[in-house]
Amino acid sequence: MLNPDFLDRTYTAEVIKTKLDAYDIFKTISELILDSKTERYSDEFSAISLCHGFATSPRSFHRFPRIVRLPNGTELSIPRQKLIRGKSVYLYDVIVGHCKHHVVIAVPFHDLAEEVFQKIDQSLAGKGTRYEKLDITALVIKLGSSGEASLESAKGDNMLSLAVTRCHLAYADQQNKTSHLQQIRMNGSNLGLTEEYKLLIRSVLDNSQSHWTVTPIVLGFALLANGVRKSSAITDLHGNFKLWIAPGLRRLLRSFSLLAALESIEKVTSTTSNLPILRARSIREAEE
């Protein structure tokens, strides 16, 4: 079982989407990371490959080192350190997942993502790399005032649904040029069940109802199967994702179902050639 060092953190992720199977991309990225270990998981519908390894950096991205006691009784300092070419570097988790035409890359710190994702993007140059992003305004509109939508399950037996768990709205008063209200942030386990959410997104659903131009800039959502929460993610306008991966990477595995569910909603997903992490201001602030 793959067990990353920074399970306590929300991981910063990006999703690469290819026209054909993305295994080549997965392989290229796996080869870039140190001490990589790959495991395969499959069910009757899809095969998922997960790779865990480390990115090295002389820069420290963590606040405090953490000591963990391993089953054999030895103590390990997290992040791990290693001497490479005479220089001490920190080792940080890099997790890469592959399922069909999606590759998900995740690291535990936003600043680390800025370094690692750029290197990966450069190494994939010329391979037609495109990153998946969501039109979150369209998604909010599709989910409607209830903030929830039922989806078709590939397996047919589960009742799948999406629910909004976080929503950051930017308000611009273009008519009157006031700046009395600029942003509202909400988070909770199911915002759609609150009257406040219904009220605040009313202008997104029908922009003739208000003089505000309301733009969702960060959206968090959860995938529920028969009402049980299976996975969740937060995303911005540019294709940056924040994921909670959970021990054993179970939630990361399920994030592929989440991607499939999102893709089943019409006109919500698209791709970009721009590296999302270079435009990650809002989602970074959301995390902070």
Binding site: A125, N176, T272
Partner: protein, 681 residues
Amino acid sequence: MSQFTRYLAAFADGLDQYRIQVSESSPVELAQRAIQASSEMRYSPIMPAFLSRGAGPPEIPSEVKSVTFVFSTAPYQTLGSLKPLLASDELRLIHFTLGLASLVFLNFNMERIEDLCDSISMFPLEHWPVNQGMVRVHEIVKKIPEKTCCTHEPVIQLPASFHPELRVYAEQIAASLQALWASYETYFKEERNTLRQIVAQANSLIEHHTELQQTLANNAGILEQKKANAIRAGLVEISAALSYAVTQGTSGSLPVLSSRSPFPHHSLLGIGGAVRAITKYTRSLERAFASRSAYEVITQRYSKLQLSVPKMLSAYNSGPEYKFPTSTQQEHFDLGPDCPEQDPIPLIAHFSLRHGFMESKFSVTAASEALTAESMPPWTLMTLSHEIMHSRVRSIFHALFGKTWDDAAHSVLSENEYDEFKSWIAAVEPEQRMNLRSSLRNMVLVFCDAVELLSNPVDRADAEEAEDEDLPVAKLSERYSRHKYMAIELMVHFHDYYFIYARQPLPYLMSIWASWIKVAPPYARPLEYLTRSLATVASGTGLDKKAAFDQAKEYFLEAVDALKAAGTTSPLYEELQKLLLERENELRAYFEACYYLIDNVRLFFASGTISERVDALRFDPLAEGSTSPEDYGYSIYVYGEGKPVSPVRFALASLFKTLKRNHEIDDTQWLSAWNLMVISS
């Protein structure tokens, strides 16, 4: 400082013998080398398009084996579509330029170019094979995409005149229009509509002139002659502006070596892309403002609306009704029927070293310095918006004072206007009901009169004596003529502040005071400039004049501190701070006059519908739902994806990055070219 700007030079060693060099050294060195070798040299700056964050400039290839020019009309979007297709060593070889050949690929063979056809086949291209630095001229490949559009576009009917005085201008205008019509087919299709509007304008002027000639033949007076002269001046201006549009906008077209640009420092590829950028910038603002014409609103609505403005400037103290509305209540300007611009006069945009940023009736110029230093405050395209706002304010003055640009009435103020002013002033009721158009005109006259008195204070006894007398029309006209410019500037400031800077005091003050330290007038008249800027950011606050001044002063001091903190310093800042300390009473007196004018301009000329169009928040892919320059997603590592950016918001975000010393790289020329390239797309 890292140097990201490169220069592509072609040395003519003989007839059809061109030596190519890509260099990062100063173009002056290249020119010196050309002089020593007695060869003609043409060069243009080219900028590596794909930079890596934290990395320096990519290396120049040791040997140039080919140069491919792609004449993309949307280079920002083309870069976005090319990015995923290029290997890392290829990314380093893609450059963007300010020319019509907006992209330059180094060392791509024709086979590889064919591979990229999905991204570039819709644009003309020219491929130069190079052997040991020499262009294989006879193997140059030129490709022009086949026209896919089969719809028949109506052609323009060129203006013509047989009048001996107009013939030369009609001919020049026709020749320029023909050249632009042909060029725009390939390089700027949407601008053909502008040519149609120019033709309509030119034809109308010629027709008007013909009618006047007939009147003049019947011994008409001096007024008709003045009008005829004004029309000729208008045709001269159109002709000259079109001529610049041809020389600047069409040189550098395919084939590259056949036309030399009039700009010596862009002699190889020209500045066609940069001209397209300032034209698009101008058109985007014109489109927004044409949706609701100030002239139409004033003449159709305000001339019937019984609303008055306060006439006692000394008693003016703003109030809640002057505040920007906070509810769904619409601005006065937006109420009533649709008032689109009837006969829009598109401004012909070009660069000018001599005029710098300037606007006139038919054209607008951007300073040529912007080609290399647009990212710096004195040369930012934000100044172009200021010039375009002058055009808007001119139409307001035309509507208020009942004069069109070719009107040549004997007097500055008509008898009727003077009588209305007199009765308004003399009325016992504090706010005599009169139509808003007349009220606004009177407001301008009161302002000019007040500024005159502030500039030339008189003894109290004289003033009291004078109060009993009517201000004669000659004196009022003189005062209006003398101080009209300040009323105009204040109105332009308001339009700039509200529409362009989205009513954000700090970015506005930082921007204008970063650019004003580079020009002479604010040093000569610091009090006037300071007052103007303070009154602008006070407009729409609804605060009484004392509080409004105090708040504006706080904004100003904060803006100056922010500029200094980011390294923008000037002795003028110290002088202004001294003024605020030592001559505050005098400043307050000027401020009150300016506040009176600009607050009323705000009340009657702010328009939510227009500003929504300027911001384009719902469409701009970089906007992130905010008009704040700090929230805007400006980045030199992000490439276009379909939708164009809002030129104004993009230019403002770039300027703000400069003011905060926050740009990712420190190469002014590269950044300026980037901004122009993005806006041109």
